[in-house]
Structure formats: structure tokens, C-alpha cells
Amino acid sequence: MEYLSTDKILVIDLNSAQVEEEELDESLVEEKIGGIGITKYLYDKYIEDDPIVIGTGLLSGTTYPASASGQITAKSPVTGKVCHCPVIYKAGVEIKYSGFDYIVVKGQSQSPVYLWVHDGVADISDAADIWGKDVWESTDALRKFVGDDLLQTMMIGPAGENGSDHAQVCYNHWTSPDRFGFGKLFGSKNLKGFAFRGMGLIEIAEPEDYVERSLEILKEVKENDFLEKKGIAQILSALGEEDVEAWIEPIIHRHSADFFTPYATNTALFIDEDPGLLEESKKDEPGVLVSDVYALLGFKNIGLSAVDAGRALKACAKYGIDPFAVAQFSGKTTIEEIKESFDSIKGVVEIPGSGHFSPWCPTRPIFNDFGLSGDDEITAWWERRQAVSMIFGIQPIFCLMCPELTEENMLELASIGTDLELTQETLDAVIDDILG
């Protein structure tokens, strides 16, 4: 596969500590397009080995608006279903830049390891020095060791190592969309996580046309009024939780967007530093970056102050536990009690629809109504939209905001970018397969 691709699938066998590479066949892209279309295919191919499959969308890391995400596909140790978790922030695109479109992890390591993936090389590395450390310490230790603060990580913390049903795979220092207990799955394989860094380039079949069409679509996207808004509080307002804005506003430091995403879906809260600070904080841990709107809302609903909600989110990120589950099931109302409850949290997070996609992502349209009505129609639309965003690698929350990102123009860009004829019929078939 020459274009929009690194042409490589990595297969890592933790049992034997062997790393193999396969070429990504063009015919597979013609049949499954990409993203979770292919991670699902690879999951089925290696199903006997209970694989974790990491992937990127066909458009990930390009100039198509919001082409920011990657995916983890695996069987949830909690629900028993094959689920797809978006990889967000800058971590999603780094997977592709580091030289692989897809990574299959099979088996179980005898001792803790992490996978260092860089410029088309994958090293199974001893994790003895970071096993037992929290997500922040692990990420910091790896960045220091490698010598690069731009290293992107997917790590578990103590929750994953201890086998919590709500253990998350966190991205860099932050909580993730993982509501499936993938952190527990990583821990069961003695896999501390991944570190990605690459300076790879992605070839495009018709680069000038691709960029020109991307910019045309971006221009249409920018005509939306909602792009004047920023951050998680405004998303919650659009979902009917208007009072969150005033509650959180005093500790908002900044908003940040995922790779090439026109809306800042993440908000940094300063809880141990002046939120008005305009220079880099000299404190090691001034705050927390929040992408999980329902977790934030959950902590508000149990009566925490905004500062304590920030502290709770930070503690969850360090421990590598789903903050939404903590807010919903801990039954505690002080920050210290919440932290102490991490190992004993029980409860099942409801996964909507067919159970393949994370309710981290709001389950209805945001800012635009997309002409939908009725719960069933909205749920069906949401599932299809999630599937589409993760086939092409589009930031899944932004996909719920922006009608200008259509299946038609994603297919068009994919065809321009790959020189393959990718049709709506193919996309429909891929989605049908994913939704089972």
C-alpha cells in the first residue's frame, strides 16, 4: 500500500518476544478501507491469541480536517465484546508517523514490557523500571530516557497492573476514552504500554488535489458558528449542562485541540497554579488536561468543587482508572476518599447501542442537529458516525459537531489520497461488519 500509509503491519508476539512485519496489501484497503475496518479484520485474523490491535484511520495524520485519531480494537475484559477505543490528543497520529499503520499484540509476556515504536522499528523493552509506577511517572521516565518530550505514550497505571475492571489505557499524562477496561487487558498481558515517536512522512497519490480539497472542506467547516466556542464546558452546555461553565470557568487555564482539529475538545484546568498565568508554569504539576466531559460532569454531580473535580481527574489519570466510573460508582464525596476507593470500585458502565463504541463520546449531536429526531435514529446515527470517524481516523467528538465532514468527502479524499476507487457500497459493508 503505497499511499496514505506506511505500508506496514507490525505483529508482536509477547509469548516469544518476536516482532514481525507484514505488508499492508492494497486489496485489504480496497475491501476494508482502514482504521477499525482493518483493526477488526486483524482482530478476527488473530482471534486465537486474544490480540490487542492498534491502528490508524486511512486519513489519520493528513490535512483532512480533524484527522487526529487512532484506534485500539480488542475484546473488553469487562463486557466480553470486541470494542473500539479512539486514540486522541497527538498520540493517534504519532502511531502512523512512527512507521506502522497497524500493530497486533498477541499473547502474554513473561515479565513486564513496554513497546517502543519509532521510525519503523519496534522494540520490546523491559518495563521493570516503570512497572509499579503511575501513568505520569511512567510517561515522564520514558520521555527522559528517550530524551524527547514529544514522545507519545499509551500507558497503564496501577489500576491496570492490579486488574481493575475500570483500568484505562491512558494517553500521555491524561485519561482516555477507554471505558472498556482495556487497561486491565494490557495488565493481564504484562504490557505496560506503548511509546511512539516518528518523523515519518506520508506519501499521497495526488498531493496537490488532496491538499486543495482538504482546504476547501476546512473552509466550509470554518463557516460554522460553533467554532467560536472552545473547550469541554461549551460542549457540556450544548448537551444541556449549562451550569458547568460558571462552575469550571475560574480554573480554566487554556483549551487545546487534537491534531489539525478545528475545535479545541480538551481543556486544561489549573488547580495548583494561577489559571491566568501566561507563561509556562514552574510547578511540576500545575493542573490537568480534561477531555472526558461526562467524568467532569460526574464529579460535579457528586458535589465536588471544580478544583476538587480537577484533583480527582488528575488522580484518576495517574492511577490509570476511568474517571467516569469513579465518579459514578465510588459513592465517595471527598477527594481523599475517592482516591482511596480506586481499588474497590465496582459497577458496570453502560455501553450504548451495539456496545462497540465508547460513551466517552457524547451519544448525540453537538452544536448541530444533523436533522435527526427520536432516540433510535440518534443512536443509530451515533454508532454509524463513530464507525466512520474510526475508519477514517477523524476526531470522534468533532465528528459529532460538524456536518461538513461527510462520508462522501471522506471517501473522496481517501480515493484522491490512495488512487484507489473506494465507494459508498464498500463503506456500508465495512460498517455493517463492524456493527455486527
Binding site: D119, G120, V121, F145, V146, G147, L151, M199
Partner: protein, 408 residues
């Protein structure tokens, strides 16, 4: 014409500009390249070359590294029909000088015009403005692209005008005006003035930018600007034309040196062994360039000898090797000298270690100069070894390709 065998000096004292020559010669299809350090010049491994290139860097450091023996070998090489191409520091090197250790290289009667007893007023404060030279100063009136024009001695009826960047190279006056093949003809919108325009004009304009000094059977080419810079195609062509015409001239004259056709001791590695070697090179080049990339965000530079080195220079070496990996990975068989495998992997691993060390030193505000010196030495060792591997195989592929065409 038989393709020229070209040696590039990449040993101590050189900057990254020899890598530009590598790009240039590869694009021109000259794969018979030899990469030399100071020891190989001292061991007279240059005697079988057609062309010897000494690029930019720190002239004093290059002279000191090559030593008296290296100087004598270069002199003998040119006398016997070799072509010396010196760019920037490599141009200063063979000029007459009374200063040690430059006096081991007193080969050509050429003087520089950018020498002054009193330092002209600098327009821009930069450590790249001047270098002390005894009681005098070698100063650099401009940087970046300047305009050049060939003279009637270049051998073409109408003068050719082109541009090339000047990064500390000399303006020159030749002992014999017929040696001057191109002069500084003016400045360009991209020229950056480090002194007043008036001083810059006086120092450079109509003075020699490129000189060819005939020397017994061979010749010295002295290039003030970097004609080998990859963004200056016409200047590049000037060098290629010079290499071709000098090689043809020597071959036609019959003074071409007798080249031993004996095959140097080489081994072949195949299959898993070849794959593992290339993977280990890729791994360490990647590790190194990742940390080198992060160094570029840091406000630091190192003065090594008389030359200032920025972190950006590290990645120039690394990228130059990394971009050639794919082509090497297509080879199912690798040909290399015994021991080269180990030399490359050892240097590559050590480079990663040292780069990670220097990152920690800088992060913790510790002294980093010693590590920087080690890093630039390692970069030379690694890149010489890597390019030896690369061009041995590229040359071999091109020979096989030509043979296959012959069979058809």
C-alpha cells in the same frame, strides 16, 4: 571516460558540508566514493583517487588532524595528476601560510581578501563574523547567497552567471590571473551583510570566488562559496563539469594513475544477518535523531576548536544517513569490509547513548561541551562507516546493472 574515483575527507575538523558533496556526487551518478578520515589520508589511501574533496569546517583543525604527513600526501597526489577540490575551509587549506599547522600545506600562491589587521565593524553581532589569525583577523563580510560570474579562463565563450552561498569562505587573489575561473559578481536579495555593504564590496566584488591552480600533472580547485550546496543547481553543475573535465584531461593525457584492480577484502552478508544489521542501524539512527530533534528546541551551541556547532548540525548528519536506509534495505545481499558491521553498530549505539547523555546534561544545566565533542567525533566515525557501506553497495549495484545491460 572511466568514472572518477572520488575521495571525500570527512575526518576531524570538517563540518557537515561534505554531506552536500555526497548528495551532489550521488545525483551525478558518481558512486565510486571513498570516505576518508585523517588516518586514511596519512596512510596515503588517497593515492588511487582521481579527485580529493576537502569541504568546509575549521581549517586549523583540519590541518592539525591531517598533519605534515597528510600534507605531503596531498601534495604528491596532485603532483601525480590528482584533482583537489577544496570548498570553504578546504579552499583556505592549501594556500601559503606562515601559521602553524597551516604551513604544512603551502601549495598555492593565493591570498585571501578577507584578512584585516583591524576588525571591521560588525553590522550583526555573531560568533560567525570572524576568526583570529595570528595578530590579524579573518573576517566574513557576508553570509548566504552571492552572485558569481565565470571568467574568460573558464573555457566557455560567454561568461556564466550563477549563485552560491558563502558561509565563511574566502575572497581570493591568485598569483596568476589566469587561474581565476569565477569572480564574485555581486550580492543577492538573500545576502546577509555582516559588515557594511561598502566593506563587503571591497572585500569580495571582482575578486576570485573560484580558482583553478595547475600543479604539475594535477590541479587545485579552491571554492570560496559552497558550490556544492544542494539548493544551488547551477553551482553544483560547475563542480560536476570540473570533475568530468579534469578526469577526462588526465585520462587523455595518459597521466592517469595506475589503479590497482585487485579487489579489496570484502565479505557478503545475506538474509537474516543483513536484515539485522540494517535494522540495528535504523534503530539507532532513529533513537539518535529523535533526541537530536529535541535538542533543537534548546538554546545552546558549542564552540569546538574555532567553529561554532549548533544542535541542528547533528540531525543534518543523521538525516543524511536515514534517508538512504530504504535504498540499502532493498539489497538482499550486502557487501562490506570485514569489521565494518561491528564498527557501524558500535558507533550508532554509542551515539544514541551520548545524545541522550547531552540532553540530560542540558536539562540539568550541566556542562555539555565534552559530550558535544564526543558526539561530533562519533558522527564522523558513523557517517564515514555508513557511507562506505552505502556506496560500496550502490557502486556494486551499478556495476552489476551495467554488466546486465552488456549481456543483453
Amino acid at each position: 571516460m572511466k568514472g572518477p574515483k572520488i575521495g571525500l575527507y570527512a575526518g576531524s575538523g570538517t563540518s557537515h558540508s561534505w554531506l552536500w558533496f555526497v548528495d551532489l556526487f550521488e545525483k551525478a551518478g558518481f558512486y565510486d566514493l571513498v570516505f576518508l578520515d585523517e588516518f586514511s589520508v596519512q596512510n596515503n589511501e588517497i593515492k588511487e583517487l582521481d579527485v580529493l574533496v576537502v569541504s568546509g569546517g575549521d581549517t586549523f583543525a583540519v590541518a592539525k588532524s591531517l598533519g605534515k604527513e597528510g600534507g605531503q600526501n596531498i601534495k604528491a597526489f596532485v603532483e601525480q595528476g590528482g584533482t583537489y577540490i577544496g570548498s570553504c575551509a578546504g579552499a583556505y587549506l592549501p594556500m601559503n601560510s606562515s601559521k602553524k599547522p597551516l604551513d604544512w600545506f603551502n601549495f598555492v600562491d593565493v591570498k585571501i581578501t578577507n584578512l584585516s589587521k583591524t576588525l571591521p565593524l560588525a553590522e550583526i553581532k555573531t560568533c560567525k563574523f570572524c576568526t583570529s589569525y595570528g595578530c590579524d583577523f579573518v573576517f566574513h563580510p557576508v553570509r548566504e547567497a552571492v552572485a558569481l560570474k565565470t571568467t574568460s579562463f573558464y573555457g566557455k565563450e560567454t561568461p556564466i552567471e550563477f549563485t552560491a552561498p558563502l558561509y565563511g569562505g574566502p575572497g581570493m587573489k591568485a598569483g596568476d590571473p589566469s587561474w581565476v575561473v569565477a569572480v564574485y559578481n555581486g550580492f543577492t536579495p538573500k545576502t546577509s551583510f555582516l559588515t557594511s555593504r561598502k566593506i563587503a564590496e571591497k572585500t569580495l566584488i571582482n575578486n576570485a570566488a573560484v580558482i583553478r591552480v595547475p600543479y604539475n600533472n594535477g590541479s587545485f580547485y579552491l571554492l570560496g562559496p559552497h558550490l556544492e550546496h544542494p539548493k544551488f543547481k547551477e553551482a553544483n553543475q560547475f563542480i560536476i563539469d570540473a570533475v568530468i573535465s579534469e578526469t577526462c584531461m588526465v585520462q587523455n593525457r595518459g597521466t592517469s594513475k595506475y589503479r590497482l584492480e585487485s579487489t579489496p577484502l570484502k565479505e557478503k552478508i545475506t538474509g537474516k544477518q543483513a536484515k539485522e544489521l540494517l535494522l540495528s542501524i535504523r534503530r539507532e539512527l532513529s533513537n539518535s535523531r529523535i533526541v537530536a530533534g529535541s535538542l533543537e528546541f534548546l538554546p545552546i551551541q558549542w564552540l569546538i576548536g574555532q567553529k561554532v556547532y549548533e544542535p541542528q548540525k547533528v540531525r543534518v548528519y543523521l538525516e543524511s544517513m536515514f534517508k538512504r536506509l530504504k535504498a540499502l534495505e532493498k539489497n538482499k545481499v550486502l557487501i562490506l569490509k570485514p569489521g565494518l558491521n561491528e564498527r557501524i553498530t558500535r558507533a550508532a549505539k554509542q551515539l544514541t547513548i551520548e545524545l541522550r547523555r547531552i540532553k540530560r546534561e542540558i536539562d540539568e544545566n550541566l556542562e555539555s561541551l565534552k559530550t558535544a565533542i564526543v558526539i561530533f567525533d562519533l558522527l564522523h566515525v558513523l557517517s564515514i562507516s555508513f557511507f562506505e557501506l552505502y556506496f560500496t553497495n550502490m557502486f556494486n549495484n551499478s556495476v552489476q546493472f551495467k554488466e546486465s545491460l552488456g549481456n543483453i
